[in-house]
Symmetry: D2
Subunit: 351 residues, 4 copies
């Protein structure tokens, strides 16, 4: 039932799968009078698209945005924006070899269980391509957030077992990993290339920081800012964990160590990661997510076919050996979608 | 705006704060004809209530459940259940000393930022007492889930720096920590008592397993089973992180290691923790949460008052030195609320 | 599923039935800092309660409001308000005679069809008593709307076949019918008394006017102001029709007659009833509803019992021979709930 | 905020305006495995499209449906269906003459009030063209409802002051008015042609019957079947009133006359129109709506421009002199959308 909408006021609804005619999104609740053009959206889509570098999939996708409604003479009208990205023609024969096989780590098995439909062409709705609709919607959210002084930045801090040693946000867009440490990035790339040659893949950790966020955002007791951000990023196929502020590290601390105390200048630390009681403090929002190693690998794996017979599968095709660089803009988009909705909800509460 | 409801079909709405007349919940969308009595609910509330042992707060709360509607001759009618727990009279003078101070790690500051209201009596809506409404609703969900063969069990696996060495679910309700290892539990208790004497507190990790869950549950692309579970548990005040299956450990693995392959008997491993693509596989759902050390400690801490003046605060009163034992039934309740809703949503999709 | 909530931002969830422990409502999304006390709510409840006059049911109900949460030192906190009205002990033997019979015009048959539960004590959730929760919530909405300059007034314009000849709002609260014409009211009362003596009942028409409403409210294309108001009042058990502005009379007019033209002073007419394209114009909102004759009558009627056997039924007990006077505050409450939500939604859109 | 979605489980979200690139709809929550092809949808769109006869607007619109997602090998997959109708190129100069004028009866004024945007090209989002997205979604709903035995039929019963004398459903699609009486239809056409020549327009009444609907549908207390149907049809721009069963006629009846009594064969009458207490009885659902005379007329009218100056306006262009024939499929579509959602909600409740 109806899991393809996100947000309460700035609300998006998405459609589309990898093998169909296209993917798209309707954004309802857009502030009227905001200047927007297709280039604002295209910029973010280009950060997500395949083929950016030799460590992303060389697969070609048409990621050109089409704005079908909701903008008049360069400004949002306040009515729903309809955005579409048309798919290029898919060569369905690519998938014939695995037509009846469940790819390990893929949603083939669970989609069949849920819907009773075996849609073997690409990953259908479970394809990463679905996230381009999120990125498009997030780009619109970011335009409005920017006017409020909010800046959202995500980046790789670990991949293929290699961690960033420092956090230099200026280098993120200058290395293929979108990592915050150029030297670590170089090592990650090297390691990932080696894994790709083996027909294998790597995971990593993405960190996201939002600065300039007003205090007072978040809707207790169920729709707290951290609860909503967690949901937002956990709804991405490759994400297996999320932590805020010090995250799991807090469990070994004493209360006297973990509590963020205050002085006349404000909070002295930000162990909490920008929220207390599910409401923003005005400090930076900081969280990290675990990105699993890409499921699609060309190494032979054990599996079964739809009739339960054991089989060996090799997922040929061109897959990202590590999804980290391309998930960065998606994480930013999901963060933007949560924040814009929370700003609007706070305005509604107080009015 | 309206953050006090949870669930789409089996939908709960809660109210109440620690200092008011009571806390409660309306459950809408309850399957009609389910046998239920107050004892089913009271049993779970007793697992959450204060004063269970010498390592929980000795504070007295009346946790007696009152069913105001929705049950007729011992069975649910399908109309909303109204459940209330009345508060005992609070001695408001208890809080006079900290009337104008922001307690570190507490939501005092953020609630004032959000609502513009300084409600100093207890933690108001941010009080842990709010979770008793969730436990009551969860108990009703569990009754229905039980008929579907679902069993949910949460337990402490780490606290105060001490980890369980084995996972023996039979001992959980037989130690004060609700840990899955009796020996580790004894050490945890000892360590926590020592911290309490220092006026300090400890954090920990809770693991939760749901068995017997049907495959096919979860609503892509935004309301995936893991996204909804993450939101559910991240909406608890003390929780700072959540991970599914191998969680953060997956980031250092190769795809060939992490993918759960299948043979004719089904999945050979469950690294994913019971879901792929946000839909249940039929394997056990497994996740872990990070519980921060209790914010309320009697050790002196630096803070400011509402006018920004620096002050020293000592949060007197009787607080849990470690929230782990009492959060266990709350985690189970939130899990039950997600699962029952997903069962009903799947039925709606297919009908 | 979950039909007991109303509103998106200022959101109410209700529970309770006539035979249970009580009825109540949670109001989520209340503007913080609004002065409110129980008397504000009680005033409206008293306008709805039974036993107001000799042409309403003499049944005794305890309509005393209890505020369980959401108010601190006389002001709303912005957290959910929990409001309860406890039922008086019901003498269930009252209903034994009709235990197995379907009362004509009553929801006995349809509730059994829907829920599979035969709850013969009173009308359960379908009882008019359920509307007291709406009135309580509406009273809170009205407090906030009053600060925005909105005034909502409903009144009987026709009952028992007798129409008001003039529309004098000053007399509404001074006659038992809450009609806008004292002389017509006197005739209505007389006619209704005669019907009551025959064991029969009467219907009528209620008109509602909201003045001082800002232009720009309503959320096309599905949640237009008229669509939401229609839903609000059609959700009352006795209402069978609703019309806005000239309503059904417009069908015989030409466009040139029906269109409200403008001059430099604004709209010259208000045939539309205060909205165009589902958005308020700033003119008075005007609508009318058809109230069916009370279903509960003591005259013998043909019916069947739960096993399908034909029976004669006499609904003894003390029922309103005409529901018009008591539905007036309920219509006002529903109108207030729609308007407050729309004000908040407009604020959210523009922010 | 976000008024462009409809339905809870079978949920549609629409976008698009008359002057943009197109209009469309995402349908989320579609039952998987339903056979569907574009022709099923196109059939209904053709019933709504302009230029059907000499008494509808001769305006040309491209109403060709494009299915972008959610269907695989001729069957629904259970994932969102994305449907788009591209607009033909609009000649914007058509609207230059009225660029700054408020058209009487149109939403120009209220859209400007709400959004602060003056979008003069066509009626933008308030255009009747928006309803083609509803018709497309409704066609999908009807496919599923048909398998449940539900049949929905709407038709004109009055237009331009002329009423149908008999109710012959077999003639509806054989006259230009979609009326249920061929002779009355002929008179209506004649009258409407005369009005059109004067540059004026006519209103009418549409009746809708749904047969084969299961008993037990509808979600008290706010989302009753009649409340949801009322909202559905009142969300159409031209509709000013709705009544169920006997509707406004019930107000002059006694309870003993209006109550539908039962015998061993079931209900003896259907005065209620197919629902009691907001839940379907299993009898035919019957309701009627008032359709206002078309606002766009070429007769000169008084109005003001955006700066408040008084002006004379003539809405040139090609408008429907009576919207009745073309609103029929829209009313059926909205009815289908309510019913499919209620079927699914009932399944969710009971599961």
């Amino acid at each position: 039932m109806s899991g393809s909408s996100f947000g309460k006021i700035f609300k998006i609804s998405t459609f589309g799968e990898s093998h169909g005619k296209g993917v798209g999104v309707i954004i309802d609740g857009v502030t009227p009078g905001i200047e927007i053009d297709a280039a604002d959206i295209q910029f973010q889509l280009n950060r997500r698209k395949p083929g950016q570098s030799d460590i992303t999939t060389p697969r070609k996708e048409s990621d050109q945005i089409h704005i079908l409604s909701g903008v008049f003479e360069g400004k949002t009208t306040g009515t729903p924006m309809g955005l579409v990205l048309y798919n290029k023609d898919q060569i369905s024969s690519d998938y014939n070899a695995i037509k009846d096989l469940f790819r390990p780590g893929h949603a083939d098995f669970t989609y069949l269980q849920k819907y009773g439909i075996r849609d073997h062409k690409g990953s259908g709705r479970a394809s990463g391509r679905e996230t381009s609709a999120r990125v498009a919607a997030g780009a619109v959210a970011m335009k409005i957030l920017k006017e409020k002084g909010v800046q959202i930045t995500a980046y790789t801090i670990k991949a293929a077992g290699i961690s960033c040693e420092n956090r230099d946000l200026s280098v993120i867009e200058h290395n293929k990993m979108r990592a915050c440490d150029s030297q670590a990035a170089a090592k990650m790339e090297q390691k990932i290339r080696a894994l790709a040659e083996e027909g294998d893949s790597a995971g990593g950790i993405i960190e996201c920081i939002a600065t300039g966020v007003a205090p007072g955002l978040g809707e207790p007791v169920f729709e707290k800012i951290d609860a909503e951000l967690a949901r937002a990023v956990m709804s991405l196929g490759a994400v297996k964990a999320v932590e805020f502020g010090l995250g799991f590290a807090c469990v070994d601390m004493k209360g006297s160590e973990h509590n963020d105390s205050m002085d006349s200048q404000g909070f002295k630390t930000n162990n909490a990661g920008g929220m207390i009681g599910g409401i923003t403090t005005g400090e930076d929002i900081i969280f990290r997510i675990a990105v699993k190693p890409t499921s699609s690998i060309s190494k032979p794996q054990n599996t079964v076919d739809v009739s339960g017979e054991e089989q060996i599968i090799r997922t040929e095709g061109r897959h990202d050996p590590c999804i980290c660089p391309r998930i960065v803009p998606v994480v930013e988009a999901m963060t933007a979608l949560v924040l814009i909705d929370m700003y609007k909800r706070e305005a509604a509460l107080l009015s």
